[in-house]
Amino acid sequence: MGVFVFLPLVLPLSAWPVARLAETRLHPRTATRLLTAVAVVMAVCSTLCLALLMVVGTAQLPGNPLPDGWSDPEVRAAVPHDEVAGRAAIPALAVVAAACARTLWRHRRVTRRAHRALAGVPGPTVAVLPDSTPYAYALPGGRGRIVVTTALLAGLAPAERRALFAHERAHLTARHHRHLLAAHLAARANPFLRPLRTAVVYTAERWADEEAARTVGDRRTVARAIGKAALLSPGTPVPTLAALAATGPVPRRVAALLAPAPVVRSWPSAFTSVGLAAWGAAAGALVSAMSSANSAVTLFLILHTATPL
């Protein structure tokens, strides 16, 4: 398998320019689906290769439960720098497993706590909370709930409120939280996938913005709703990864809504920058999948022959 086993670990780097292009050029729906799929494929491949390296690494440890034949020189020769890579893979895989488990656990805890907090609030979907802090959330789970505070509603005109609710409904009906969770888990599995997570968080919001614009029938109203909501809460000290970007996501979303609606294309031609992004992402994911499959099969065959009987 040679260097192929390392390839899926670093191939997510190829997704960085792709994420940038896709989030600005592709229709947000296409971009969200594409980037999530690419992130998941790359994360699975990267973790698989980490697991393969770990098997080789564990086989060298004294007193390990694996068959003795697995520490043969032929097996070790399958992985370049096996003594370093193999051993480094053991803690790396443990870290990945722990990080993913923690993300899943937090996800469930936050969802459960939020639903419990809203228990008893009348209304099937929308929960309007009397609070001086303006915020709005789409809470997945069950039929899903939309949480809005009176402070935010008071700051918006009726049409803008409709835009806000349409935006949150779009999150719930399109089940954006699944994309977000997948992207978060992928970023935990391989830190190189973090830009993809940031991109998915952004494109999911854009997707909901576009749905809201379609429902309300006026792009400018949605843009004003987002802008006003953001201006209502200036200087909220919530350090997010998105804050590191040069121009924050909110002005970019507003600017995108003030521009004409994005065109939905089935699959762009490879000769435009959009096409380059889409095909680049697909190719990166494919190479990643192929090299990890190659490594897995090779190692399986080697270990199969190395195992007595």
Binding site: R106, L118, A213, A230, P234, V238, G248, V250, P251, V254
Partner: protein
């Protein structure tokens, strides 16, 4: 609210707080903890009801007055106010909530405010507008 007896043990504090406050709000005037316990169907211990009422008092959504040897409880806020308090506590406490709750807007970094005001206050020429 669904209230299966089998699930009574598993009910979280938040849900119970909501139910106790809801029961208080259905009362005609100040009531005792025993009244609340009876109102809730009796599958809660008296001490549990008192504990929850005390917790609600700390959150400033109920008030109490001494009446003989016990307290009479009055709601000062509604269920939505209690939910808002709990939601705020959740949002303040969870740093990783972005993974679950897609926020309508994120905090504006300095500089973005000017960009945003410029985008919205200056009408964008003729393009954009209302047509899709």
């Amino acid at each position: 609210m669904a209230r299966e007896d089998g699930r009574a043990r598993r009910r979280g504090q938040g849900e119970l707080e909501g139910q106790v406050l809801g029961a208080l709000r259905e009362a005609d005037g100040p009531v005792t903890a025993a009244w609340v316990q009876e109102r809730l169907g009796g599958d809660l211990a008296y001490t549990t009801v008192v504990t929850i009422l005390t917790r609600l008092l700390a959150k400033d959504v109920v008030s109490r007055e001494r009446h003989g040897r016990s307290f009479l409880w009055t709601p000062t806020a509604d269920v939505a106010r209690l939910a808002a308090l709990r939601m705020r506590r959740l949002l303040d406490g969870e740093r990783d909530r972005e993974a679950v709750l897609a926020s309508f807007v994120t905090a504006l970094p300095p500089g973005d405010e000017q960009v945003l005001r410029a985008l919205l206050d200056i009408p964008g020429a003729d393009a954009g507008g209302t047509e899709d």
